[in-house]
Symmetry: C2
Subunit: 434 residues, 2 copies
């Protein structure tokens, strides 16, 4: 009988061992692809100075940050809070360790971040983010924008079976357009309306434009701009046809063209497309912006997003560190894949083989056998409980695909039979190992 409420706090992921094995498999596959692309791992502390974490924040971030109470023994410290993303601690890290870093710094961060949001199904307060970023000193080649997209795509491809669309824009394009239309003062509102356009009915977007005082002709221009999407050639042609003479606009189009062209060269012509609806709410993005969708499961929303920021650490240093990054929010992604039965094809038997010594007389032989099998890469459990052999097979069937009983006969002859617990088929140990 329980004496306590033992459920985790709402908004926290806590998986059964079987689901955890799948989660870990996806996490390791993503990390493996990140490393194969030459990204180096770092880890920043989960607890950081509040003044660092909130140097640029505002709005939701400030409302959702978890502050930490200092203990009797840490009273002298600065005010502290839990990191809410990887980008802010990365900015601090780059400034702090500038001399230990080789630039361009290709870096990956994999770990949990924390946001104290209102409890809501499918939203997490503790969540894994798996980020890649490339940070330059003074300059960073645009080709890295394509590189982070390709890296994230390769990582997702290891376990996402439905079609993916990576929708890409460049914030300079809309900035230039608004400059050209004389709407700079309304930029923030317009970015926000376009950012939300897909989540509301079309009339609501139009009336939002009206509410901030746009003319019919301005609304028409923005609407046709927002409708531009497709593969590189189409999108670039349509943007050029808008006939906007603004320099920032032209630079944005040129950058988008180059990023999409680099992705075309890597076989992503139909996967990585231009789309003027992509904004990314966060105001630190200054160029390319990316979001990734599964067209057959649009309700899931973006599963992987990022962009280019011209100056990563401007709050902490006068030095200029341009960067580009992308992030997979694995906790939420795992949740929605599971809800949509898209994890079916991913399965992992955490344990290969359970050895069942018949009695304590067989322990020594079994230990030696396990050691051999483990050093050849097998995950081997030995059931050491004092239950009956039948119960031990029931135990084995729950956690592994194969089991072997080791009795006096096996010790004497060295002939070990391995039983497939799903089919009942019996194999010689030598054949099982092969």
């Amino acid at each position: 009988m329980k004496k306590f409420n033992t459920s985790p706090i709402s908004g926290m992921q806590e998986l059964t061992p079987a689901k955890q094995a799948i989660f870990d498999k996806l996490k390791n596959e993503i990390a493996g692809v990140y490393h194969s692309h030459g990204f180096l791992s770092i880890e920043t502390p989960i607890i950081d100075r509040t003044e660092i974490l909130l140097a640029k924040a505002g709005g939701d971030t400030e409302k959702q940050i978890y502050k930490v109470v200092k203990t009797a023994e840490t009273e002298g410290d600065a005010d502290q809070a839990l990191r809410f993303d990887h980008t802010v601690p990365l900015a601090r890290y780059v400034v702090e360790h500038e001399n230990d870093i080789t630039f361009p710094f290709k870096v990956t961060q994999i770990g949990r971040n924390f946001r104290g949001e209102r409890a809501q199904k499918g939203r997490f307060r503790e969540f894994y983010q798996l980020d890649v970023d490339v940070i330059g000193r003074e300059k960073l080649a645009l080709a890295y924008d394509a590189e982070v997209v390709k890296t994230a795509y390769d990582a997702l491809k290891t376990f996402i079976k439905p079609e993916m669309k990576i929708r890409i824009s460049n914030r300079k394009i809309l900035s230039g357009l608004l400059q050209e239309l004389g709407l700079e003062t309304k930029s923030e509102d317009i970015f926000s309306i376009i950012d939300h356009a897909e989540k509301v009915p079309k009339e609501k977007t139009l009336s939002a434009f009206e509410e901030i005082g746009l003319s019919n002709s301005e609304i028409e221009k923005l609407s046709s701009f927002m409708g531009i999407n497709g593969t590189r050639e189409t999108v670039i042609e349509k943007l050029k046809n808008l006939d906007i003479k603004n320099e920032i606009f032209a630079l944005g189009v040129e950058e988008l063209d180059e990023v999409l062209a680099l992705l075309e060269k890597q076989g992503l012509k139909d996967t990585a497309v231009g789309d003027m609806l992509i904004i990314r709410g966060l105001d630190y993005y200054t160029g390319s912006v990316f979001e990734t969708f599964l067209p057959e499961y649009r309700e899931i929303g973006s599963i992987c997003s990022g962009g280019r920021y011209e100056n990563l650490a401007s709050n902490y240093t006068e030095n200029k560190f341009p960067g580009v990054g992308i992030s997979i929010g694995l906790t939420r992604l795992f949740y929605v894949l599971n809800e949509n039965n898209l994890l079916d094809e991913v399965s992992e038997n955490p344990i290969d083989l359970v050895l069942i010594p018949f009695s304590e007389n067989e322990y020594e032989y079994t230990f030696n056998l396990a050691e051999k099998l483990r050093s050849s890469g097998k995950k081997v459990d030995i059931n050491l409980s004092d239950k009956k052999v039948g119960d031990k097979f029931t135990y084995a069937a729950k956690i592994a695909k194969f089991a072997s009983v080791i009795g006096g006969n096996e010790v004497e002859t060295g002939n070990i039979e391995v039983k497939n617990l799903e089919t009942g088929e019996k194999l010689k140990l030598e054949d099982y190992i092969r």
Copy 2:
């Protein structure tokens, strides 16, 4: 120029990318051994209910726990704090997920825990612990005590080169002895004095015994008890020679004998030894207790400890879950190995090869080549910056052992040369791959 203090908060580990690669390698090696022994991974939330975390705590734990301030959006929640070890959340997990678990539950937890201690060189407030535990329902065979010790030993052995000693006792032995001597009421003090005996001069231990009112003959008996250590046969014989007729004492000796015998059978006769000085301060241990030392580096202290607890979740449920566990505190261990130059032999080149396209004309060829190399398991970076080729070699030499320039000639002929950046030696790509 910095505008902010960008150092991490004192007591937090933050490594350079090169050191992080070594840290991650050790972490993965330990995890690999844990899994090879058939332990299943779980992860509990870092933030948990304060009432759960502090259900049994007291003393230092209560002083050092980091409480979390609820945000505007989580106000309705229970009081929250950061977990300070893996054992308490494991107890909650076992009660919560009892029906999803196969017992004996062989479980591993790898992650960061948090203690707001006074800042001190070599002490960490955020630290990785890599635990294995085996939890039974109602009963748990003693053989698992030996199993967790062997698992931790195999894990440490992957990177610890100096000799290791795993010192083992059983708390029932001292409990029974004190019962026999009529000193039960002073148990807590005596356990604590013996626990600290190695850290203070001998006279201090003796005077501590005097201060709590022990007679000379009692002190003499305890002193000779404390001097008992060595391989199984020696220790068991000396304990039996004490001629204590107490049942709990006898049971403790029998258990210790069995655990040491099982470790002997696995080749650890001289490594896993009995030692009556081992107590483990934590009062939830009820049987076997383990600590691991490097005799050549005694000042490092124990690098891996654990023990048997008869009732893991007694604070949360009426059901009985006996368990045994062991933990490697990797953050501190990494720090002391580094300080003692014991990481020298561990080295990891995080990136295998840097490809340097001569110009954008070679990008497509280079992308394809990288993809092939990556799918054959290589970690391949492409330098996409617009620096000179010489600068790109400088970059490559800092992060990888090999580099290749891909120019028009290479694209045309497919003859790629791979340069060893340490020796200057040049290889054909085909030979490099082999």
